[in-house]
């Protein structure tokens, strides 16, 4: 084998373990799920048989699944908007160096570093209607007369409170992504703007915001993917009750509670498609070329 050929092959050889790894853990299951989504796979009612779009039709005929899609849309809307807005605010606040900035940064990152199961358990105690901190704090402030049941009774309140936990967890990542983009902006631009008479708000709007747009896009897509796939928080805080069910939770219920694996595969496929389409749409909307963006 010639030296040239060896050089040409080297990159492929180096990435091949990764390709095998990704292929085995991602590509093969995806293909398998896609194929099986068109089969009726029910261990309790064999045999497995091709059913075409039967699984998908059954899903759209199921009001609980429809409810879970609507709920998920709300989770996504709250999650994306709140995490990007809060993430940007935190990034701006932490952009400049100050004393104990490292400690504050570590505290901000902490919710992101904790497993979502642990966080949901912590918040289940905060929301606990008998001895939770939320009731106790609100009552101390005379904001409520008596203790409230926060989860499980009102659909939108339940969804909002579950999403608070999700936002609490994913916002640090958004903040880090946006902060990295903010720190890459040359101080000369702000200095020039200041000389031209621009205030902090105008500088942020005219300089920071356009230049961090790609980072905001990445943060928004990250929030979109995580919110669309929300499971742990919903399961721990509200069980499998349809009231606050997300589409990922419904995938779990269809697959492992109903033992309808074909239906579960179909729902997984729909979630994957929705994630891909919405992510691409969001990137197209937000991720624009930054060259010449500063006006």
């Amino acid at each position: 084998m010639s030296t040239r050929l060896r050089r040409q092959l080297l990159p492929y050889i180096l990435v091949s373990p990764l390709l095998v790894f990704i292929g085995a853990l991602s590509f093969v299951p995806t293909v398998d799920t896609t194929v099986e989504a068109f089969f009726r796979v029910m261990p309790l009612d064999p045999p497995t048989a091709f059913t075409g779009v039967g699984n998908f039709r059954a899903l759209f005929d199921n009001p609980v699944v429809i409810t879970s899609w609507v709920n998920t849309a709300v989770y996504v809307a709250i999650g994306v908007v709140a995490s990007v807005v809060l993430g940007t605010a935190i990034a701006v606040a932490l952009r400049r160096r100050f004393r104990f900035r490292g400690v504050v940064l570590a505290l901000v990152i902490l919710p992101w570093a904790l497993p979502s199961v642990v966080e949901a358990v912590i918040w289940s105690w905060i929301y606990n209607p008998t001895f939770g901190v939320l009731n106790s704090a609100l009552k101390s402030l005379h904001a409520i007369g008596g203790y409230h049941v926060w989860l499980g009774l009102d659909r939108w309140l339940t969804i909002a409170l579950i999403e608070v936990v999700q936002v609490w967890q994913i916002t640090p990542l958004s903040a880090l992504i946006i902060m990295a983009a903010l720190q890459s902006i040359s101080p000369d631009l702000y200095e020039a703007a200041r000389v031209d008479g621009a205030g902090p708000l105008a500088s942020f709007r005219r300089i920071s915001l356009p230049l961090i747009r790609p980072a905001v896009a990445v943060a928004a897509v990250e929030a979109l993917v995580l919110s669309l796939n929300i499971f742990d928080q919903v399961y721990i805080l509200n069980g499998i009750a349809p009231l606050g069910s997300s589409v990922m939770l419904q995938t779990y219920v269809t697959t492992f509670e109903d033992l309808n694996f074909g239906g579960g595969y179909a729902l997984s496929l729909l979630v994957t498609a929705a994630t891909a389409l919405l992510s691409m749409g969001m990137l197209a909307l937000l991720y624009r070329r930054t060259e010449g963006a500063v006006t």
């Binding site: 261990p43 309790l44 199961v117 949901a120 989860l151 499980g152 009774l153 499998i240 509670e257 109903d258």
Partner: protein, 442 residues
């Protein structure tokens, strides 16, 4: 027995799942060949129970040469684990939980192997009254390892404080007594019934239906709860009304049964539990380190519509998954675990040090005799009497193979009815539709 054994329920499940995989891998490494099933010196046991005392497990290892990797997973999560592993045709344990409700499902899917060749059904049945619950079409799918059944428990001190000296035996009498008990003890809501979407809610409905004198499904698995005059309909109405009227704490909409026992009854926030488990008094309420009602609670006759009602039996079993690597070891373990003396030890024969936490009652009558003779577990004779006279299977013909879907429909719809998201009639109709669909497809 369901959420009673959900210790650290959902968070714990994750860690337990990891432990299970690790344990499974460890076991696999010592037994590379599945064909030589008795060659391994270790077995993995996955159940929703804490392990027996280490000294006794060590004794088992000494006697048999088999090391036991004990994996305790919450009941609901364990069922998911079993379904996932068996569907993927993957090894996960050598011996695992076979709940009474899963027997039909496991027989139909072949996920667990019949135990007939290892255990003599005819000779055991006289000593194990609930053995029949684990037999489907002549196949013994699991060995019962307890005599769990649903009971009613009450805090006698709280009732006395309200001037209730004899426990009411009817549900209407029970409701008015509880109202007085609540007022006398400063409890806004004195009764614990779980309403979280978990198996315990389904089981409670079967129990309440039995208390009203019926069953939710007929022997041919048809819905028997659609008429407003049926016991099942009345039971659901009674439960939901108890919640909506404030007899049951509002917080219970997201409280599982085990949470209710440990955070409400054991802390004296409620005075009674309607769907409690036989064994809770000894294993939860009389444990000084975690209970403030030690020696105050007792099992009472379950109230019915006109007099004492029936109690639903929900025994736990242990079986051998199809993909077990050490079948011989698993058989030896099951024989040891369900042995007369050991069953009595798990329930307190040798004192608290050897008790298996949350273990209700032995599966064997011979173990009961040992306990009664020793006299060191509270109300053993009362429980034995309830077991023999009042305990009945929730389904006359055994659990249907599609039980899991049925139970999911039951728990979600009763939960929704209590949360005010649907009416009783809608909940009943939704559950009945699910049953009819499952029957027609299965």
């Amino acid at each position: 027995m369901k959420d009673l054994r959900i210790v650290g329920r959902r968070a714990g499940a994750l860690a337990a799942a990891i432990a299970l995989v690790t344990a499974g891998a460890a076991c696999g490494s010592s037994s590379p060949s599945t064909s030589s099933k008795s060659s391994s010196s270790s077995i993995t046991v996955a159940v929703a129970y804490p392990a027996p005392p280490k000294a006794l497990l060590d004794q088992f290892t000494k006697e048999t040469g088999i090391t036991v990797n004990w994996v305790n997973i919450g009941w609901d999560d364990l069922q998911t684990k079993i379904a996932a592993a068996m569907s993927a045709n993957t090894y996960f344990a050598d011996a695992a939980d076979v709940d009474w409700s899963k027997v039909g499902e496991y027989e139909k899917t072949g996920w667990f192997i019949p135990l007939n060749q290892y255990f003599n059904v005819s000779s055991l049945s006289s000593d194990m009254p609930q053995l029949g619950t684990f037999i489907v079409d002549g196949k013994l799918m699991g060995m019962p390892f307890d005599s769990s059944f649903i009971v009613t428990t009450a805090n006698a001190n709280d009732f006395k404080k309200a001037g209730v000296t004899s426990m009411p035996t009817t549900l209407s009498g029970w409701s008015s007594a509880l109202t007085r008990v609540g007022k006398a003890n400063g409890m806004a809501s004195p009764l614990d019934i779980q309403f979280a979407t978990a198996e315990g809610l389904s089981t409670c409905w079967y129990q309440m239906t039995a208390a009203f004198g019926g069953s939710v499904l007929s022997s041919s698995y048809s819905p028997e709860f659609t008429s407003p005059s049926s016991p099942g309909y009345k039971a659901m109405t009674w439960m939901v009304n108890a919640y909506k009227s404030g007899l049951v704490p509002k917080a219970n909409i997201n409280v599982t049964d085990y949470d209710g026992f440990t955070t409400e009854m054991a802390k004296n926030r409620v005075a009674a539990v309607m769907c409690d488990y036989s064994g809770s008094v000894a294993s939860i309420y009389n444990v000084p380190s975690s209970s403030s009602v030690v020696n105050q609670t007792e099992y009472v006759q379950t109230p019915g519509s006109t007099g004492p009602g029936m109690n639903v039996a929900n025994p736990d079993g242990i079986g051998i998954p199809r993909n077990a690597k050490n079948v011989a070891g698993a058989v030896k373990f099951i024989k040891w675990f369900t042995d007369t003396e050991n069953q009595a030890i798990w329930a307190g024969l040798d004192g608290p040090k050897d008790v298996v936490s949350t273990f209700p009652l032995p599966a064997r009558l011979s173990s009961f005799k040992l306990l009664e003779k020793a006299g060191n577990i509270g109300q053993a004779s009362q429980l034995a009497a309830i077991l023999s006279a009042h305990a009945k299977a929730p389904f006359p013909n055994g659990a249907p193979p599609w039980y899991v879907q049925f139970s999911a429909a039951v728990q979600t719809n009763i939960h929704e009815a209590a949360a005010g998201q649907e009416t009783i009639a809608q909940a009943v109709s939704a559950i009945a539709n699910t049953v009819n669909q499952l029957k027609s497809s299965g």
